[in-house]
Structures are given as structure tokens and as C-alpha cells.
Subunit: 328 residues, 4 copies
Amino acid sequence: MTQTINKIAVLTSGGDAPGMNAAIRAVVRACAFHKLDCVGIFRGYEGLIEGDFKPLGPRSVKNIINKGGTFLKSARSQEFRTKEGRKKAFEQLKKENIDALVAIGGDGTFTGASIFTEEFNFPIVGLPGTIDNDIYGTDVTIGYDTALNTVVEAIDKIRDTANSHNRLFLVEVMGRNAGSIALNAGIGAGAEEILIPEENLGQDRLIESLKRSKKSGKTSSIIVVSEGDQIGKNIFKLAGYIEENLNEYEVRVTVLGHIQRGGAPSCYDRVLASRLGVSAVDTLLDGKSNIMIGISHNQITTVPFSEAIKSSNDLDLELVRVADITSI
Amino acid sequence: MTQTINKIAVLTSGGDAPGMNAAIRAVVRACAFHKLDCVGIFRGYEGLIEGDFKPLGPRSVKNIINKGGTFLKSARSQEFRTKEGRKKAFEQLKKENIDALVAIGGDGTFTGASIFTEEFNFPIVGLPGTIDNDIYGTDVTIGYDTALNTVVEAIDKIRDTANSHNRLFLVEVMGRNAGSIALNAGIGAGAEEILIPEENLGQDRLIESLKRSKKSGKTSSIIVVSEGDQIGKNIFKLAGYIEENLNEYEVRVTVLGHIQRGGAPSCYDRVLASRLGVSAVDTLLDGKSNIMIGISHNQITTVPFSEAIKSSNDLDLELVRVADITSI
Amino acid sequence: MTQTINKIAVLTSGGDAPGMNAAIRAVVRACAFHKLDCVGIFRGYEGLIEGDFKPLGPRSVKNIINKGGTFLKSARSQEFRTKEGRKKAFEQLKKENIDALVAIGGDGTFTGASIFTEEFNFPIVGLPGTIDNDIYGTDVTIGYDTALNTVVEAIDKIRDTANSHNRLFLVEVMGRNAGSIALNAGIGAGAEEILIPEENLGQDRLIESLKRSKKSGKTSSIIVVSEGDQIGKNIFKLAGYIEENLNEYEVRVTVLGHIQRGGAPSCYDRVLASRLGVSAVDTLLDGKSNIMIGISHNQITTVPFSEAIKSSNDLDLELVRVADITSI
Amino acid sequence: MTQTINKIAVLTSGGDAPGMNAAIRAVVRACAFHKLDCVGIFRGYEGLIEGDFKPLGPRSVKNIINKGGTFLKSARSQEFRTKEGRKKAFEQLKKENIDALVAIGGDGTFTGASIFTEEFNFPIVGLPGTIDNDIYGTDVTIGYDTALNTVVEAIDKIRDTANSHNRLFLVEVMGRNAGSIALNAGIGAGAEEILIPEENLGQDRLIESLKRSKKSGKTSSIIVVSEGDQIGKNIFKLAGYIEENLNEYEVRVTVLGHIQRGGAPSCYDRVLASRLGVSAVDTLLDGKSNIMIGISHNQITTVPFSEAIKSSNDLDLELVRVADITSI
């Protein structure tokens, strides 16, 4: 991996996240800064296999820093999971004289990148782009901050209407295996209860807790439910259960869904994405590969792909306590 | 009804809507302008029966014009549907020397107001406050414009992520009997399909239409579904049906729910509410009663309660054509 | 002007306005609906003269309905004001077999269009796209509603901080000749004073009014100033004058500037733009020309260019009264 | 300072910042959690001197987490700078049996708190609430993240309209002594140039840089100017200078002003404020005083007031490089 780097490609893969465009822009402009050629690959590993490439200069990425989604598009690729698929991908890269790759995505993206870089000794660095903040080795992922704001703004609107008596609102947010979005956005939104997969509150304790809230003078409640939570798994069933067992409440359901993946990225996500994108090119020029670039203690950091993909679901107990206290 | 008016009460009733606070503020300040006393009644007709009153001066309503919901709160009252309940309400009004009432709400509110004003010869004017825009005699209701913006902003975020191939998004919006929100917000959001109760598209024609879209080069689609639409009634079932019958698509569901009732009111809703609130006091001072004040052709207008509550579900055929053409 | 129309061009000209993209999209898709060819002209009349054209199909305008600005760009053209320039423009249209034109913009745009259509007997219809709402023959222009929301949202943020005692905020908004934005957004934002060109309040009466506000218990004030207002003309001087003559206040200034021209269009602006764009193609197919399409009483209407460009500055006295009463 | 703590007071002082309400709420609810009494002090040290107090329970702070500003209001107090003033303040605290104080604000707030706690041996902890992020001992201050989002959203709107050729936009943001807002929001907004007090670019180099941008194909530019920057000091003069010396550009000015202090707080600011508020009560119960609670490496941390008020203007050179590269 000591070959000179003259041409770098960039792709986005997996679920898209706000700030991916800002990261692509930073990679492209860092290439221009270092007088390297830059190539955009459309539709992730699928486009890599098909050779769906386009040269990108500094002006190609104007007016995208503020756009959600990814202009390079994203896709899941079955073929890249096969040795043959990856071989085609490698040949496409060679044909275009591409020397290195920046892959923006989540753990699936890094798993593929890691296999590929080991098989073909091809330099790749990864950037963590996912709203789920479930990547080991970085304090935050690109898109997470924006997703939290989106959830909180949505619940703020529900709060306006929650003044009516005896209303209870269930709001389902993303997070299949981890309740990070639910916990943070639940605190930010001032939710009365937060149901997350890591803590299995259970239906009975939920009902008990809601009864206590009612007694303490609360006339309405907002409950944030992570989609991966056991009792929240079918949020409409949960709504029915609460109505039956706490018959003084009308229960209303909101399922935020993919709203959480979009939107103009927050300033934080744009700055983070810009820093990581600039650093990705620096890192490749330093001869490094098979690593993800992250942020830790507000400093740029790197971690091998093999570490990054151990997803970390450690529940932040300080935050759980803050949630409990501030919803008193 | 020719008694002098010295003291006016104001209440909000039914589902709340953005701009209700702006309307209350305008009523309160118009009273101050005309040197009348003003009283706020909390929790609609329920608070009226219970005498849950508070004097309101111009400074009582500062910093509320931009707030969603209603600071007077809203409630449904079973008791006001009874003669006894209404009698208690009348006595509360007399006890406080209240000479007239402004009732802000929807058709349920006006039905109650109409019965009451006829029974007790008590002056009431109504202001249309509901996101549903289903009141006869006014071009728009307070809150409708804000709700449309809320829906469109939510779908804009989904659009960011809809660039991925083969994705189809179902977004459920409010509107049990009328598809006004779905139709307007669907056009505004650039939805590919809009399912409304007035038009029963049916599952088969929906599938046909989606197949045509696909052929015409569309790689993803957003479908806005009014909660009252037949085939959309259970949106998760509809999602399953589409996945089965158009197996190339992953279908994702968003249920906006009560997000649509909240949020800071749009400028339009605030100006409308201010105009109607000022006019409500003018109208009572003119000795009129048993009417709703609305807006028609951008002019203040009045309509008897009896007319206002004939809800009008006429489908706007020009808009249906615009939706069809612009989603081509 | 009875030739068959097979190919329609569309351009945006003058200051841009949110919703212009939605209007372009509707024109393009209406052309597809009627099986007509459609051509986009970049940079307004300048691009028309230079032949800066691009064929547009229904997929060319995807994902733009929610974008501010105009993807066709806009420019002012000196050359189009000359006979020679317009001749070149006509030749470009003929060379491309373009049969008719939709011009989206303000009075300058329509003045040019009117001269051109008369000189060359070339069919043109105009759509009113400007945040200023100063076009005769339409109740509202595309972009106006969005601009009002932008102003109101900005002032809402100032209101949060205005609770501190003895603060006075001056906010300059657009409107050189007319105070329409200031008056509506001022009511919507709950401003204490609104300074507009049509009413020349004068510095002394402003100071008197602020003294009265103070006495009535107001501890802070927000004043919306139209850029065309006499005493507001230099807003920093006005701030100094108030500080000197009302020495209990700290005065803070915000100049909103071009923020008001951008932003994602409101639902209203998108629906309006969609309706007008569809109607533009209908109207050209009906053999009409030299007219602007507008909206009046929520119905599509047309008005000759010669009428549209008589800008109408009639002050809405009902609104002035509402502003006075609600800021009491 | 080993007395038992039974009653804690909380105040906000200095310029207000989004998230202050969330911090107050967390203090109040943490008191309830620990079965302590809690008292709100209105208008900062001024209200402390005057005894403008109000008992606060968990329900007193409902529905404020999402509100900008501070419901306890803020003020500057000359009297608290005098020994006599502080003595009165101490007597008010004793009279109400208040045992400790949480002061939310910036360096002025902490300077006062530090003198007071030393003079009267009265327990105080501080929370950093200011949009300026200029407090030593915390990575971020409450309100900073929201202010960055506000600036970036405003500039996004300007970007929509910047597509027109030959336009240059100057946007003034807050930051008298430090360019932290300008640098971060400038990167986030994709500004072409960022003028900050720490780097004195100078007019000539600015003009040179703009000429290079033009040559590199940029057709419009957005320049973020910190209010403390030398050449930006009078932004209208700077605009004139650029128009004269780069005569191909029309220059437009926006002065954001106090918009930056308001707005609903971001999720980050709400969570941060909640964590710090909970920790403030913990810290007082631990018997500590004369310190500020901050966040460092995403962990709660404390720093003596004497350290916190050494404002730190170290320019983040990594960010300056990111700004330079990404605006290439």
C-alpha cells in the first residue's frame, strides 16, 4: 500500500444520513486542494461493480452542503458480498486508475470495505455516516445530531396540542438494537417515558409509572418508543393496551419513520462531515488504510474497520438518570 | 339581543389548531381597544359550565401569537350537550356579568353555540379554528395553512432519502371525511399518488398506477394517504399489499398523527386569526349573534351557525387535475 | 397567433422567489401531459438572447418542488431592452422551433414580455413570481407567502430574547415602494410598530407612540421597518435617534436582507405555483397571449400584461386597523 | 459551607441563550427528586437584590424545555457590583432560607458569583449559558449549538438566491472578541470567506481572495463576518469597498443580530442543559461551591469560577484549515 495516490474515489452506502453530501464535498475539495483527481461512484458498491463513475471537481459539489440525502445515491449490493462481485469492483477501479477509496456509511459498509481492502490490498478509509450512532470508535456519527433535532422538533409540535386533558401520545423513533435516538431525543423533547431495547420496562411497569405521573399532577404524557423496544414493537397494540388499562386516557400514535433520515443537516453534522472528509484524504495520503476516521473528545481519531463494526450498545447510565430526574 | 355589551368572554373548543392563540389575543386586544372587559374561559364548554374564568387584559396575551395550541386549553364536554349543562353555563355567564361570547372551534363548537344562543338568547359569534378546513362559509379555517406546511416539511425530509432505488413511502395525514389536507399537501409535497376519501381509487388501480410510474422512469414514490381513505384505512396493511403485489419495492410507513395539530402558526394563520378576532368583537358590538365569521375572497364574511355546520366535502376538481398533471 | 403549439419554452427573470421551481416543474409536466416539447431557458432574457436552452422532460424537474431559488437561474438583461437584443432572442426561439413562452417574474419581466410579444407576434404568458406581492391582477404572487413566513420566523426568535427589560428591536424587511411584507409580517409577528412607505409616521410620532407603549406596561418592543420607509431608510440612524430620544431603551438592529428571497417554499406557494404553471400551458393552447395568469378569489384569472405592470400600492386599511388594534 | 442544603435558588443572568429554560427545568426537577425546595429568582442579580422570588415545583417548569429565552428573565445589575448591593442580595437569600444558588450565564455572571460566594461563604455553582462559547473549562456552552444552527439556516436561504450571477453576500454574525460562531457556522454554511477577529485578513487580501474565487469559476459568494472583525466592523462600509474594488459584483448585506440569541433550542442544547442542571444540584449536595459545571470529552466536569472567567480565544487551527480546504 505504498503506491502513490493520484486519484481517489468516494461513495456512500447503506441507509443515507444527513451530512453525507457535506462529507462528499469535503473529500472532493480536499482532493482538489492536494491536486488529486476525484471520482464519484453512484449507488454505493452496486455502482462500483457496474462502473457508474463520474469525475468530480470543486464546482461539482457546490450547493450540496445543505442538502439531506446523498447526491451519489446509496444502495445495498448483494453482489458485493460475493468474491466475483468484489473482483469486478476491483477491475473497475483499476480500469479508471483509481488509487484509493473513501466509503461513507455504517457497519455494513465497513464490513464490505474491510473484506475488499484485505482481498485486493486496495486502500480504503471509511467515514461513519448513519443516524443510528451505533459505530464503535467514534463519539458521534454523521447524521445523528440532525436526526435528534428532527425528532425533537416533531415532538415539540405534539406538545403544543398535549395541553388537552387526558391525552397520551406514543411516538415511535428509529433504533432497532439501540435506544440512543430515543434516549437523547426523549430527554430533549421532555418525554415522560422513554422505551428502549436496552431496558425492558415491560407493560405493567409502564402502566404503574403512568399512574404515578397522573397522580403527580400530569394531565398529558408523551412517550418516546424506540422501534426495537419489546413492548413498543407494535406501537398500535401498545396504544390499545394502555387505553384498556388506563381507561382515562385517549392514546394517539405517531410513527416518524423515514422523516428521521432526511432534512437539511445541522451545523454540527456539516462541520463534522467537513472535518472527517478533509481528514479522509489526509489519511490516505499518509499511506493508511482499512480504518475508519471518527471523532473522539472532539479530536479526529482513527479505528480499524474490524473494531468499528463491533457495534456498541452500552447504555449511557448517566443519561438514563437524567431522563428519570427531568421527567419527574 | 339589543342589550349593551360591556364584557365579552372567549373560549376555544374541540381539537386545537395553530393560530387559536392569535385569535384569542386579537379578541382580548379588540376588547381593550373598545374599552370592554374581557374574560378567558378555560377548557371550552366544560370550563364554561364550571366557571373556570380569568379576566384578560392586553398584557395577558403577550408572547402567545407565535405559540401553537391554545393557552385557554380545549376540551370536549358531554355535559354541555344536556339542557342542564347549558343552564349551568348560562348561570355562570350571568354571575360574571358576561354579555357575549366568542367561541373558537369547529362544527361541534358551533353546534353547541347555536343551541345555546337560541335557548338563552345569549349573543355568540364563532371563529373557525380547525386544521381540517371543513367548515362551510369560509374559504379557510384557522390552522389549516400551518397544518399543510407541517405535512409538506415532513415529506420534504422523506424526499431527501427517497433517492435510493425501489423505495415507496406511505405517509398518513389527517382528514377522516375529507381529503383536503391530503390533496393540497400532496400537490405541495410532489407526491406521486394521493389517496383521499372522496375518490376511491381502489387497490388494483393504485397498483396499476404505480406500475406505470415505474415504467415512466420513476425510481421511488411518495404516496400521501388521508386517514379516511378506504384502502388507506389500515396503512400498514396497505403497505403489505403493495409489497406483495409490486415486489420490487420496499415500502416504508410514516404516520404523522398529532404533529399536524401543533407547531408555530404560519404568518397566514396569524394574520387570519387576528383579522377574525378583531372582527368578532366588531360583530358583537353591531348586535349580531348566532353566526360564524369567516373569510371569503379575502374579505371578512359572516354565515349563520346553521350554515357553517353543514360540512362541505366538495372535491376541488381543478386541484385533482393539477395533482394528476404535476405528478406525471 | 393561431399557429399550432408544439414546443413551449419557460424562463425565470428578475429577482428570484420561492416557488419558481414549482412553477417551472408544473409547466414542464403540463407540456408532457399535453404531449408538447418543453425547453428551459437559463438566466432569463439574457439566456434567451444567447440561446442558453435545454430540453426538459418530466424527470428533469424531479426533486425541485421543495427548493428555493430557480434552477433555471435568473438575470437582468440590458440587451433585451434593445430592439437588437429582442431580435436575437426571437431568432433563437425560431431556430429551436419554439412556439410559445412562459415567463415567470415580476413587472420588469412582464414589461419585456409585453414589448416582445407585440413586436414579434410571439405567444407569451406570464406568471407572477416575486416576494413583493406588487403585481396588479393577482391577489398573491408566487413567493410572497414564503417570504412572510421567513420574516415571522426570524422575529419569533427575537421575541424569545425580548423578555429582557428595556430592549427595543428594529427589524428591516424588504419592500422599497410598498409595505405589504412589513404590514402582514408585522401583524403576524406581533410587532408593536410597523413602519411602511405608504404611511409616513415620522420620527416624532414614533417616539410618542413608543412612550405610550412603555406607559401601558410594555417592557420591550419589536418594530418592523420596511426598507422603503422614510424614517427607516437608514435603520442604524433610526436606532441612534431612538436611543437618544428614549434613553431608557437599548436598541438592537436586524437587517434580514436576502434571507427573505430564499428558503423552501410554503405549501401555499407550491400549490399556487403548480396551479398557475398548469394553467399557463392551458392558456397558451387556448391561443391566448400577452397576458399574465393570476389568482383572484382563489380562482385562476388572467390579466393583460399592460394591466399587471401598473403596480398597485393601495394600502389595505382593514389590515392597518388590525395592526393598530392587535398591538394595543 | 458544610451546612445542610434544603432549599436551592436558580437564576439566569447576562445575555440569554437557548437552553436556559431547559437548564432551569432540570435544576427544579432535580430539587424535587432530592426532596429539596426550589426557588426561581427573576431578572438575575437585580431580582436577587429585590427579592423577586417564586417557589418552583416540577409542574412549574412544564412545557418550557422547548422555549428559547429564559422564563426567569435576565438583566444586568449595576447594584450587584457594589458591596451594598451584594449585602442586600445575601439578606434576601437568608430571609427566604435559601441555602445555595445555581447561576446560569456567562463570564459576567460567574465573576459576580465568585465575589459573592467568597464574601458571604454562600454556596453557588454556575452553568455556562451563552451563545458565544467563550467560557474556559467547558467544551461547549448552552445555546451555542442552537445559535450555529440558526446562522446556518439563515445562510441556507441566502444560498438559494445566490445562484444569480455576480452576487456577493455579506452576513454579519455575533462574536465581539472571538470568531467561534463565524468559523463554525461559516464552514457549516459553506461560506467562501470567513472574517474573524483572531485572523486579520485585511481588505486587500480579501479582494485578492475574491478575485481568485471568481477566476476559479465561482459566480457568487457568501462571506460570513464576525461582528468583532476589524475590516468587517462596519459591514456596510465593507460592502461599499468591495463594490468599488471588485466592480463586477453587487454586494448585499444581512445583519442577523438578536435572531441568533433566540429560537427553540436544539436537541443537543436541551440534553446538555438537562445534564448540567441535574449535576448542579448533585454538586451542591456534595458540598462544593464556587465552581462552574461544564462538559469536557462528553463528561460532566467542574472548574473554579476563577478559571472559567479567563476567556479563551485560542483559534482552532484545524477548523481554519478545514474552512480553507472546503471553500476551495
